[in-house]
Amino acid sequence: MAEITYVEAIRSAMEDEMRRDDRVLVMGEDVGAKGGVFGATAGLFAAFGEERVIDSPLAEAAIVGVAIGCALAGLRPIAEIQFLDFIPPAMDQIISEAAKIRYRSNGDWSCPMVIRAPCGGGVHVHGALYHSQSLEAMFAHVPGLKVVVPSTPTDAKGLLLAAIRDPDPVCFFEHKALYRSLREEVPDDEYLVPIGQGRVVREGRDISCITYGATVHEAVAAADRLAKDGVQVEVVDLRTVRPLDRSIIISTARKTGKVLVAHEANLAIGVGAEVAAIVAEECFQQLDAPVMRIGGPEIPAIPFAESLAEVYCLGPDKIEAKLRELAAY
């Protein structure tokens, strides 16, 4: 077991898979000699050459569209979008093309590919409005896609391996605040984390906090504080936001009867709305309090100045306050 960071987990998943399967290619802006702006592809160019690690032109639709073509021709491309904020130019290729290729051809064609992008922000990530967004809801709305948002190095590696081997297009969104801040021992041997399965990060009987991505760590911190007062919060990491793990959502909600859904993305019509709606529909009899949500406020993204960024970001304090509200209900 080696202790590695989150970004190293991503990097090593790609490297391992490229060694194992020569159909795997990486393409994106600055993924070559520079190794990506966050170093996620560091060393791959040297190891695999420019035919497999392709410095693309500055054109996101092309990165995804060309990767789709590679997938159609039997390869297993990994397309890197430099920041999730810059994925909208590729939206048409993702939702109109990749997501619909299998369905529209009645199963004659398929599109196995991964679209990786760093997402998220936070008070100490200085990216501001356009280097901080969490746009997963837009993709999670779309049948035909899978959407993974890992929260730990172990999950990041196991899920990325699963994503590369998946027969369908997978959006893989990596929280940039985790890249270097998290370190963890991950298995040396190959392992896969199945797409579509959530995980109970911390057991508890009083309240469920259902979340994913970097917010998992904030939720755990908040839960630890409530534990000091005897309130046991169960923290569930969804890990995948499409398909959602309905059974883990329903079972934790039925168990505790009180649910807080938390995510960094804008709240309105976000993943949390779907989770809340599922809980409201499936756990009506077991609920002891209204399903509550906490997430990004009604502003476009995280502003630059710290004083403004704090208004957007969650953090343990805000989650704690909501959990206490639920506890008191």
Binding site: L25, E51, R52, I54, S56, P57, A59, A61, A62, V64, G65, V66, A67, I68, G69, C70, A71, L72, A73, G74, L75, P77, P89, D92, Q93, S96, E97, K100, I101, R102, Y103, R104, S105, N106, G107, D108, W109, S110, P143, G144, K146, P167, D168
Partner: protein, 334 residues
């Protein structure tokens, strides 16, 4: 920019059999296209989109390919081209009538959305120009695997205004990929004339700016297209990179069965268009050259009609899709 000219006398080095076969494929495409429009007018096919006027361009390009080996990423006017690649009339009648056995999409898509893995025809959706990038990716894969396969991708002149078009041509030029970009320029994008689509005379005027070869060819002249396409395909196959090949076509029918081109095209324009029917032209040329003898053209026509008749009979009998199947193939079936 070289506007290739045909030299009908030499007939592009093709044998009489090949020439007759080309003519036959043009006729088959035309008659099938007409049949589909009839089904639409009868209220049996909810939607039809016609390729009439593009047959010479499509046959010229199709015959330049190694069929069964090379790939095609078509667009909705390519009925004749997908027939040349090996699809059957029945396939498209099934699609027109929304039958389960439609090999393009199982009646999930509108007719005209071609695709068939068996024939190396990539699945296509409706968004204009997205397919350009898929072809580039397909070509990148050929290059990566060191295969000598070529991919042709087609699009209208209107589609050349889309961002994807630019991004695709640029990428292909940078990597010298084995792809031929075929622009079937029929001077209209639905109702929008070329003058509102670009400020240049030819789409292929853009080739130089990408650093790739470009050619404009009379898309009503099947042999000229065949020659220009053969050059482009050879260039691609031999590792010399992509070509932007523009074929000047006419759109004989309205944009689709939902459109009426008399509302935005003048009577003169439409008359001029009709005067450029490529099927009539090739027949005249072949007759003049003694390749088609008295009665040959009629016989070809009848053979094609019989084929279409038989195909329609089958398509008529074929079942519509089972409702339950609507939920399948969103993801790989477990």
């Amino acid at each position: 920019m070289v506007v290739s000219e045909s030299a009908p006398a030499e007939m592009a080095g093709l044998s009489q059999d090949q020439l007759r076969s080309m003519y036959r494929d043009m006729v088959l495409g035309r008659l099938l296209d007409e049949r589909i429009l009839v089904l639409n007018r009868q209220g049996r096919a909810p939607f039809a989109i016609s390729g009439q006027g593009h047959e010479a361009a499509q046959v010229g390009v199709g015959y330049a390919l190694r069929r069964g080996h090379d790939w095609l990423v078509p667009y909705y006017r390519d009925l004749t081209l997908v027939l040349v690649m090996g699809m059957e009339p029945k396939d498209h009648l099934l699609a027109a009538l929304g039958k389960a056995a439609d090999p393009n999409s199982g009646a999930r898509q509108m007719p005209g959305h071609y695709g068939s893995r068996a024939h190396n025809i990539v699945t296509t959706g409706s968004p204009v120009a997205t397919q350009i990038l898929h072809a580039v990716g397909v070509a990148q894969s050929f290059r990566y695997r060191k295969e000598d396969t070529v991919v042709v991708v087609s699009v209208g002149e209107g589609g050349s205004s889309e961002g994807d078009w630019h991004e695709g041509l640029n990428w292909a030029a940078i990597y010298h990929l084995p792809v031929v970009f075929l622009v079937e320029n029929n001077a209209y994008a639905i109702s929008v004339p070329q003058s509102r689509q670009m400020a240049v005379a030819h789409v292929a005027d853009r080739a130089a700016g990408y650093g790739m070869a470009g050619a404009v060819v009379d898309g009503g002249d099947v042999l000229a297209v065949y020659r220009a396409a053969s050059e482009a395909v050879e260039r691609a196959r031999s590792g010399q990179g992509p070509t932007l090949l523009e074929a000047l076509c006419v759109r004989l029918q309205s944009h689709s069965s939902d459109d009426d081109q008399r509302r935005y095209r003048t009577a003169e324009d439409l008359a001029d268009t009709r005067a450029h029917d490529p099927v009539v032209r090739f027949r005249t040329e072949l007759e003049a050259a003694g390749v088609l003898l008295d009665g040959d053209a009629d016989e070809i026509r009848q053979e094609c009609q019989r084929l279409i008749e038989a195909a329609q009979e089958e398509a008529d009998q074929a079942p519509v899709p089972d409702a339950a199947s609507a939920l399948m193939h969103v993801y790989a079936e477990a």
